[in-house]
């Protein structure tokens, strides 16, 4: 049996640990709040741009913009969104596992896909396995502004336009509630499923529908990526919050058990001491 001091040490270190996890839970809670607010603030923009895009793309017949057309698939792009840091429960591993399995089942050789990693965890995972990571971005802030991720969104959309890949999938964690988040796969490009939201207004175009699509479609695709990133950030903090709460609860449980063992050991030591004194006194008589 461990000595009294060993047990005392375990209790102390577990207490310290629970303080840290508690603090992390609280910071995550604050970030989670902000994250959810950001995701909500983005909704009106997203809805509007979607509405306009659909109206323009559907309302003008005979337009063949490259971003709207499926072409033979030689290479597929995957955007993977994870966090930069761990300690968020299964948040990162869920996304990565899903992408990894998908790639394994769909592709036979490395030339058939390329990965765009957002977040250190995804980057490290795929680079370590020697998979094609073409673009990476790490250190995205907890409240990313549209401007700050413009580089990656526009280069990704650019890679589709210049034919680096012929379709683009997005993998991220969709935020449902504080306790449920769901790994989501979304086909980003080409934009073939636009017709599903039919709410058409016929517009005049200034200067012309083609020129508007040239500007509008990349912006729309970029908005989709940005929206997913906000969603993923909200999920990350919710996941981390839950993970840290569980850790704190577990630590409390452990402290309880250790205290029990400690008290028992202390009692045993006292009993033994008394027995020794009594034994000693009896021997003197």
């Amino acid at each position: 049996m461990a000595s009294l001091r060993d047990i005392k040490n375990s209790i102390n270190s577990t207490k310290k640990m629970s303080q840290i996890t508690k603090a992390m839970e609280m910071t995550s809670a604050a970030k989670w709040n902000r994250g959810v607010m950001n995701a909500k603030a983005f909704v009106p923009y997203m809805e509007k741009i979607q509405e306009v895009t659909v109206a323009v793309a559907m309302g003008s017949n005979g337009i063949n913009h490259p971003m709207l057309q499926s072409r033979p698939i030689k290479k597929t792009g995957y955007i993977v969104m994870t966090s930069d840091r761990g300690l968020a429960g299964a948040f990162n591993s869920n996304v990565i596992r899903r992408v990894f399995q998908t790639i394994q089942s769909r592709h036979k050789s490395k030339d058939e896909y390329s990965i765009i990693a957002i977040g250190r965890v995804a980057r490290d995972f795929f680079v370590k396995r020697g998979m094609n990571v073409d673009l990476e971005i790490i250190g995205v802030s907890d409240q990313p502004s549209f401007e700050s991720i413009k580089d990656i969104t526009s280069s990704t959309v650019g890679m589709f336009s210049d034919g680096t890949f012929d379709e683009l999938y997005l993998y991220y964690t969709h935020y449902k509630s504080a306790i449920t988040q769901e790994v989501t796969e979304k086909k980003l490009l080409p934009l073939t499923d636009l017709s599903t939201f039919a709410k058409l207004t016929s517009y005049e175009f200034e200067p012309s529908a083609e020129e508007i699509l040239d500007v509008l479609l990349p912006q729309y695709a970029e908005s989709l990526i940005y929206g997913a990133l906000l969603d993923s950030k909200a999920s990350e903090h919710a996941a981390r919050m839950t993970a840290m709460r569980n850790a704190t609860d577990n630590a409390k449980e452990m402290i309880k058990n250790y205290s029990l063992i400690y008290n028992r050991a202390r009692q045993a030591a006292i009993t033994q001491e008394i027995a020794e004194i009594v034994g000693g006194a009896a021997a003197l008589e």
């Binding site: 009106p44 923009y45 323009v56 502004s145 413009k150 207004t201 509008l216």
Partner: protein, 136 residues
């Protein structure tokens, strides 16, 4: 006088919502003025100022937008911009710094570089913001 509802939305949330008599702005193809009852229209915007004439007063609300779209319906105008700020929300210091930085870059770079184009756009945005605040 008849009014039209205007909303300016950015990825970071709605910036402006109000009823106005007239919206005038700079599209990529030139200046545009929108009055109530305009036919539905979509046009890409240039970096510029959106002027919103409030009903019953001489005053105008000014908003600096950095590109984006204008969507017009008979009863509603929506401006979708990647960035948009009302005059009172603009950080003048920051705009001034951005202007200097952009000018510096344009001096350092050759005209054919992509960075030159970028700096040029940054300069336009900074000047646009300063124009709106009336500091230029």
């Amino acid at each position: 006088m008849k009014t039209i509802e205007v909303s300016v939305v950015t990825p970071d949330g709605p910036v402006y919502e109000s009823d106005v008599e007239m919206v005038s702005t700079k599209a990529q193809s030139g200046e545009l003025g929108i009055l109530p009852g305009h036919i539905p229209m979509v046009a890409p915007l240039a970096i510029g100022v959106v002027r919103l004439k409030k009903s019953g007063s001489k005053e105008q609300d000014l908003i600096a937008v950095s590109g984006g779209f204008l969507e017009v319906r008979p009863d509603k105008v929506t401006i979708l911009a990647q960035a948009a700020e009302k005059a009172e929300d603009i950080d003048v210091e920051r705009a001034l710094r951005a202007k200097e930085r952009a000018e510096q870059r344009m001096r350092d770079q050759r005209v054919e570089d992509i960075d030159f184009r970028r700096a040029e756009l940054a300069l336009q945005r900074a000047i646009n913001r300063l124009t709106v605040t009336g500091k230029q």
